[in-house]
Amino acid sequence: MTRGRGNYLFFLIPGALLLIAVILVPFAMNIGISFTQWSGAGDPKWTGLDNYRRLFADDVFWASFRHNLGLVVAMAIVPTVVGLVIAAALFDFVAKRFGTRAAGVLRACVYLPQVLPIAVAGVVWSWILAPEGAVNELLSAVGLGSLGQNWLGDPDVALWSVMGVMVWIQVGYPVVIFMAGMQRADPSLHEAAELDGASWWGRFWHVTVPQLRPEVFVVLLTCTIAALKVFGPIYVLTRGGPGGSTNVPSYYSFQNFFEKTQVGYGAAIATVLTVLILVLTTVFLRIQKRGEHG
């Protein structure tokens, strides 16, 4: 048995040093800073749990979390549901009737936004959604001008607009993953269900979806984490506005770090966000493991 023979620790040294210097130490520093009042210059002043007390009473913070939930819907739940339907339609229908090539082209169209830098996607959409942008022009061109909105400038509409953009960005990812999963799945189950006279929806619901359980888990977990971390689209599309109506925790911490110079408070927000993400990841992985054994 060669494996584990001798000492391989040496190979871990560069990675371990980088991990400590770039991730672990800064992460510990961030937690430390969250217990202080600090403007970024001079010495931090120890204030214990003050930042956290303030945080739990801060309406802006709670509002930013509510907006984050909206983004979880737009980035994880809607893309998973829509992605399942699109993937099944491409795999079962387009690939079989029109060839895998046609399915591949359609899949590529849906996936394309995923390769775009998120900041660039933001530039594209902020221009399309501008008051005199393409969406409003299109609406008036078809006689629905009254439906035109200041999509990103109206506090009642802005979050919905951002959510719509995020669905567009995100939906290709589950489609690609689910289609790959369908290739792994056993076709005989499908054929059996078809012989039994099950409808397309029946087969989709009772055969396809259960077979894709592992993929659904991966997609929901990674997309939920991505939604909780979302920063770039908010920065480019709305800067958290108008009137804080699209603020999210990551942007709120950024504001506290670099605009309000309340570094300690920003660090507390980032720490709470981290704890939330780590807890969520652990819970997800636990459930997934139980599912595998059960």
Binding site: I86, W127, G232
Partner: protein, 270 residues
Amino acid sequence: MKRHVTLWSLIVLAVVMLAPFLVVALNALKSPSEYAADGPLSFPDGVYLQGLIDFWVRVGFGQKLLNSVVISGSVAVLAVVISLLNAYALGIGRVRGRTWILIAFLIANTLPQEALAYPLYFLANETGLYDTRLGVIIIFTIIQAAFGTYLLSSTFVGFPNELLEAAYLDGANKWQTLVRIVVPISRPTLGVLFVFFFIWTWNEFFLPLILLISNDTQTVPVALGVLQGQRMMDATMTSASALLGVIPAIAFFLIFQRTLTRGITAGAVK
């Protein structure tokens, strides 16, 4: 009939997905006066490249492209190397405590960058790495390698034992085994990781936004995002900037498409 409905709704879907790209491309080729006269939906009368050229010159787009290529390329190479070394020790070397080490890398990959941002900004200032490409390269090397370590370690667990045994009997030391046996056999996976790391780093926004502030160091997404935030561009210039941001992404997509879809599959189901 029902079949046609499905096909048509899929085609409509594809059009909706592509429409933003088309609208951007159309308007990037219009002159400002043409845009003012006809609005965003009309077809351009001719190909007007001056808007693109003006934007390119004004923001020094060549430099931004170079910065993005240098940063993403270096990160991709270094992160593949670090992932490989880590995974060799964890997956093949089976060092003690490997589960905990893997968990540490996994957490590093899951942490929101917000929780590292200010300390990294502070440390970069202290070490003179603030506003340098090197600083960003170092940071993203380990962030990407954290994922690579996790993925490669799990594939190395299934590495054929006979090959390792044969190399050992031939008197190869650990380095020689790594370079002559492990690297050639895992080349496809390393290729996928390289592509991923390159594109992910290219697309990064948050930390580069904080760490890169001057024209000589900023990447393409940061430069475009900052310009957009300043709201100083007119409509045709915005679409010119968006088009210039979209083109490299589409180029990568076409170049790497096969590797990408294969790789995503590899990552999803271990």
